[in-house]
């Protein structure tokens, strides 16, 4: 018997060993409890490739007023004819995409020539961005081309993105684009 074992340890060990030698080592219940037993389930679609797997997002709590939901688990949706509950290694790790300490949580601003980000309020940011867009648009907007034809176009601003966003957002972007008159409107499908 190792010297650091106290007399009590020896007693405990001796008793349990003796007791269990009479027991079958088959246990009836596992040592852990199910972590998604009472979560709220929301149906969503994986944001990665375009197979379009359905996922179930498990959030903390039962939607009661006083609960702030956080994602505790993401799993494949077995009802989807596409993935029938399966997912790939990226989809199964979606929880960490959503709950991630590297997520951006406030608007950031980088002034010309400076070496870092500074926080900025949404109000300040929107005011400044709208001002810059207006200045650029007023400078670059072409109402008539060199042949005098009405063309109402803006060639000095680009608008890109949208292929990981919903159809509805893309439609709103098209409204923004045509409202402003932007010609260079592109997304990832070009690449």
């Amino acid at each position: 018997m190792p010297s650091h074992l106290s007399r009590r340890c020896f007693l405990q060990a001796a008793t349990t060993v003796t007791a269990s030698s009479a027991l079958n080592l088959r246990a009836a219940t596992p040592p852990r409890q199910l972590k998604i037993a009472h979560t709220t389930q929301t149906h969503s679609i994986c944001p990665y490739c375009a197979v379009g797997c359905s996922v179930v997002i498990h959030t903390l709590g039962d939607k009661a007023r006083n609960v702030t939901p956080t994602v505790v688990h993401v799993e494949g949706d077995p009802d989807s004819p596409i993935n029938r509950g399966t997912l790939c290694s990226k989809g199964i790790a979606l929880k960490e995409f959503i709950v991630n300490d590297q997520r951006l949580t406030r608007p950031l601003y980088r002034a010309p020539g400076t070496a870092g980000w500074t926080p900025i309020s949404w109000e300040q940011a929107v005011d400044r961005m709208a001002r810059l867009i207006k200045q650029t648009r007023d400078r670059g907007f072409e109402e008539n081309d060199s042949d005098g034809r009405l063309v109402n176009r803006l060639a000095n601003v680009g608008l890109i993105g949208g292929c990981t966003d919903t159809n509805e957002i893309n439609f709103l972007l098209s409204k923004f684009r045509f409202g402003v008159g932007i010609l260079s409107y592109e997304n990832q499908s070009r690449l």
Binding site: F97, A115, E143, C163, N167, E168, L183, E186
Partner: protein
Amino acid sequence: MTNGWTDVANADVVLVMGGNPAENHPVGFRFVMEAKRTRKAKLVCIDPRFNRTAALSDCYVPIRAGSDIAFLGGLIHYALSHKRYHADYVRLHTNASFLIQEGFGFSDGYFSGWDSGQHRYDKSSWQYELDSQGYAKVDPRLEHPRCVFQLMQKHYSRYTPEQVASICGCSAEAFVRSAEIVCSTGTPDRCGTMLYALGWTQHSHSVQLIHAAAMLQLLLGNIGVPGGGVNAQRGHSNIQGATDMGSWDSLPGYLKVPRAQQTSLAGYLKDATPQPLRPDAMNYWSNAPKFMVSLLTAYYKDRATQENDFGYHYLPKIGTTDNHSWGYLFDRMYAGQIEGLISFGMNPVANGPNSLKMIQALGKLKWLIVVENFETETAAFWNAQKLAAKEYPNVVDSSGVATEVFLLPAACFAEKDGSFVNSSRWVQWKHAALDPPGLAKRDQEIIAALLLKLQELYRREGGVASEPLLSMSWNYAHPLSPSLEEVAKEINGRETLTGRQLSSFGELKDDGSTSCGNWLYSGSITDEGNQMARRGQEDPTGLGFFPGWSWNWPANRRVLYNRASADGDGKPWDASRAALHWNGQKWVGDVPDTKVDAPPSRFGAFIMLREGVAKLFAPDFAEGPFPEHYEPAESPVTNVLHPNVNSNPLAKIFHSDLDSLGSPKEYPYVALTYRLTEHFHYWTKHVQASSALQPTFFVELPEELASEKGIESGDRVRIKSARGHVEGQALVTRRMRSLKVNGRAVYQVGLPIHWGFVGRVKGPLINNLSPSVLDPNSGTPEYKGFLVNVEKV
């Protein structure tokens, strides 16, 4: 995809080429495995690398990156010369019988009509011979020397197995082995599918490559049938939907953005409304005026009137021959002609060709707005000197970058509702699970804030051309935070007077009495409810159509061109795989891709085309009506078919000081870029799980090359191109081998893409190496098959 993921399980042969679904679409690949398991389907994999898909294939053939058209041309030749094509299908459903005008030809690498001064084609000799009524003349026996079938046979007679082998670097025997399997589907009772991805689209001849694939599938009778099709495995969750909603030259629903010469709506609609080329062509685009006027009505609401051409004049008009696509945008930006860029979830520094040019171009902007979940290389481009000094020794430090940058926190997918379209065109609605973190906003709130503020400034202060801006409608119940269901309803369309949601695009009118944001989505959210959110799991045909799950554009049709799955009498080519059949009164099965009660002989199967049938010969493209093998812009070998015209004569090559091309002498190896299964693009380097699975950039090298250079797995190597360099660990493998191309050994180097200078794990941006060379039709860069050199560090 013409078909869909679930439909792949219906195939007898699956040809995977230009894609690697086991790696990049693992869940989609499950239908390949289903086909193998339940139908004993054969999987054929043609790829430069013995990849994950190859590991499970029944037949693998290695080829050189950029030689795909030669391989497909070889398959076309094989099908024709061995009479393996589906003759009845070809006669009924393609333009094989159409006569082409006199004067059409191909010699020494050029089709007829090449104008070397203008550096473009005069396409007049590529047109059909028309009769007095304006219809194309046909020879149903396919014997006329100028019919498409004969011309095609002649064009591809050069693509013998031996020629294919010498261009692609495989053996002729291996080619024939694969050809036997692929062409086994040229009978009515067998069908084959093709799965491709960016391995086909990222070439300077990519559109013709996919044209070649479509030709082969048409010859084999595999278009429109369950288990068939040409299927693009798209790489982003809603890249299909984003494309459906427009790009630089398209409006929502693939209507064209007007050009400067289209000075009135009538002029625009005249150009947008094609004339049929055969009496039985349904010519569905003749409905373009209804789509366009309904879209204008959705955009401009009560400001759209008959009198003002429904607001047509507010739309920007592109210069007649101008191009504002991706490559051109960044080239102009680098030239200092662009002042501002707004990026919603896109990362050009990482995913544009030639990252250094992207960084330098962004530095010429006055302002940049980036809306993102995470900081990206694009948002932090001004700090590249500090974050990646080794890769960009010549960029200035942040004090020298005058661009004003906004980085706005956006909600991620789980924090927003709305719809995504998958590769199968299934429009699936998702629900929001929680609120965005901190001060992050939903994208609709960010767009609304910017547009409404801008409108307010113009209203208050005036400015240049305020009318087009102020006329764009934004009359949502909550203008600062529009509900996406409300926007979805606007896209679906409604009767303007009653507000009734339309049930399909068949209800659209060209007089302003209907509004519709995208005709393809009409029927997606009707008075019966949100069809995109449906969760029905029944599969009445047993063919995996699942008509009650979500909603499929167009019209909930699961297989495009499904009319072609039946013969001239409306009888399915294969009764066990009947997408449709004519029961004497109407078409039954999938939602028919023809008029439901039109007898089989009434309309051709390809209702969107003026021909009414599919185009083997397609005068639409820049570089020829038949696909021809051209080398990549940077190639280690001479084009053996026509040494004087090595690469695509119409490939767009930019010529700024950062756009050099390399010679094979300096850069002897062929490089290809690709994704790994562990990562999604440039996103998951922020995710611990994915980063742990693949933490570092590595380079895959063939054993023979590695031993020549004394490189072992784990050694650090430097890869250089004429644009830049990257460094990483070598992974020496037998899965990439030396290929014998035109009598000499050619090595390929494999470069996974996922790292950058921002993220939980970091590594070089692979696009430091790639060239700004574009396909002339699609504007997609040549990320596959450019030249590099390799050295041990």
